[in-house]
């Protein structure tokens, strides 16, 4: 499957000149890039620069001010609700804080998309759920409720739900934030395995340098609403752009106090997510 997917001509997702606002505040100011099938595409950038916003637009959860988002040849910004839903069934989304339904056990959370539109026999669902949970190392948590899990476990359960339907594309918002290093590295291995065995394309937002070095095929860096870098890891590490250098050398931001005052820039507001 991975081999076939890679031979497909052309990108699986194309974003063209994406402009987005929250109210009157511009967040993304014309971002363009492509994602190839089977690739692990990493989006980096400072906190509050619009990475989550970008993912939400790419998955059709928000609609942009202008610009195109093309999935497999269809521009999802032009689709109506029903058509969009059909596209969304073919992508998996793992949210920053898991996004699990609190009223169901972890197992039922994973089973939900399978039951709703998985075309899986009811007889296979329990095993399939167990299989997916084992993949993310949560085999023992099947009957627990989400509020009985730690933050990292919630994140992994969210990933298990995202891969429930074996979607060709998975979006993952900060997978390793809040995980211990061993767990984070395990998650990286899992992502690599899923890509290799199932040919899944990953679009991942992350801050973790180790993780970026381990998994990324290509990197997009956002800063103040624009794409300031797009290329491979090697290119990123030898880049001259000061922001990129700063990120990879983990230098503190001497401009941090000024960041909120740059025209069009915006202050951090994590609670809004």
């Amino acid at each position: 499957m991975s081999v076939d997917a890679k031979n497909l001509a052309g990108p699986i997702i194309r974003v063209e000149n994406l402009v987005t606002h929250y109210g009157d505040t511009p967040i993304l100011k014309g971002v363009s890039f492509c994602v190839d099938p089977g690739e692990i595409f990493v989006i980096i950038g400072g906190s509050g620069c619009g990475k989550t916003t970008l993912l939400k637009h790419m998955t059709g959860l928000l609609s942009p001010t202008s610009g195109k988002i093309v999935h497999d040849g269809t521009d999802i910004t032009l689709l109506d609700e029903d058509e969009l839903t059909r596209v969304q069934r073919n992508i998996g989304i793992a949210f920053q804080s898991g996004g699990l339904f609190n009223s169901m056990t972890v197992g039922d959370n994973v089973a939900l998309p399978l039951r709703e539109y998985g075309k899986v026999g009811e007889d296979l669902i329990p095993s399939l759920v167990r299989f997916k949970l084992n993949l993310v190392g949560l085999g023992a948590a099947e009957h627990l409720m989400p509020d009985e899990l730690s933050g990292g476990m919630k994140k992994r359960a969210g990933l298990a739900r995202a891969i429930a339907l074996d979607p060709p594309v998975i979006y993952f918002d900060e997978p390793s934030a809040g995980l211990d290093p061993i767990m984070a590295s395990g998650l990286d291995d899992l992502i690599l395995n899923l890509r290799r065995l199932l040919g899944i394309t990953f679009i991942i937002v992350t801050h973790e340098l180790d993780s970026i070095r381990k998994i990324s095929d290509r990197i997009l860096m956002l800063d103040q609403g624009s794409a300031i870098f797009l290329g491979t890891l090697a290119e990123a590490e030898s880049s001259d752009a000061p922001r990129v250098r700063q990120f990879f050398e983990r230098r503190a931001d001497e401009f941090i106090a000024q960041r909120g005052m740059v025209p069009g820039g915006h202050e951090e507001e994590e609670g809004a997510e």
Binding site: S127, N134, D147, I163, R196
Partner: protein, 361 residues
Amino acid sequence: MTPIRIPVPGELTQETGRALHRSAREHALQKGGVLLVDLSNTRTMDARGGAWLLTIAEWAKARGGELAWEGASGQVAEFMELVEPGLKAALRKKPRRVGLLENLGDATIRATAEVREFLNLLVDAIYWTILAPFLGRGFRWGLLLDEMHEMGVRAVRINFMMNFLLGLTIAMLSAAQLRTFGLGIYVADLVMIGFARELAAVMTAVVVAARTGAAIAAELATMKVQEEIDALRGMGLNVPQFLVAPKLLALTLVMPCLVSLGMLSGIAGGMIWGVYVLDIRPDAWLNETLGAAKLKDIFQGLFKGFFFAIVIVLIGCHNGLRVEGGSRGVGLMTTRAVVQDIFLIIVVDMMFALLFYYVVD
């Protein structure tokens, strides 16, 4: 014991997996027996095929045997590494069901603990609302005005409507009886006494329980779920002082105003019926109304309103802070708060009725 060998076809998918499961179950696997899955011909497999292997392994374990495999290579071997932990895991047990007696015992223990918690909250709330400000231990005066606006000013319209309509209804009902004796004017007395002593206080309390009581429970429950309450505690801030006291003081100040408004609205509703339908002159109706009630009756209503306010705030906070689980817990606790509010309003009302009947009147 020789293992039972089952060959797997070239592709292990949802369909071939199902067939494999069916054929595996035809074998008489004995305790301690091994079901050997032969993967040497298998070139590809997917997640659903892997899940069927788990189903088969589960079946084998349930019969006291186990599942083993051989001959995996290439992609299949890598895939089997991912499936392996599930295949090796012990037979999964369903979570334990709790018996009836155990349930009853738990319920009793829980109820006692809950009452104790509530009393603690009551004491803390009274301390932080009444004593602490005088002792100079801090009260969030800024928040008080906001809360009074939210709980009081914004409830004026709905409270007016509800009491007005109730007044109209009471007048209608009683007029149907009294006018047959030519005593239509006494409807004014009835509405006045009814609203002063009872109806305005209860109706207003129900409105406030549904608005403010629910809001308080939902707000505190959400704060708890999002660890905001823990954050407050962690900063050394006191929850009753910080969250409960401003609400308690605000509602106890606002409630008598709302109840007074309720009385006026109810009487206005009754009067509309009296003047326009019973054809009684407005001044006669007003005279009758004013003569009907003593100050004592009005005071009764206001006094009850004050206690209802305490009930609503404390029940809301109590339930909000007891939330467990996430969003669903918030919904459950909000419902619980409103149900308890309305129940306790009626109970408290009845106790006051007894008190006034035997002691005051």
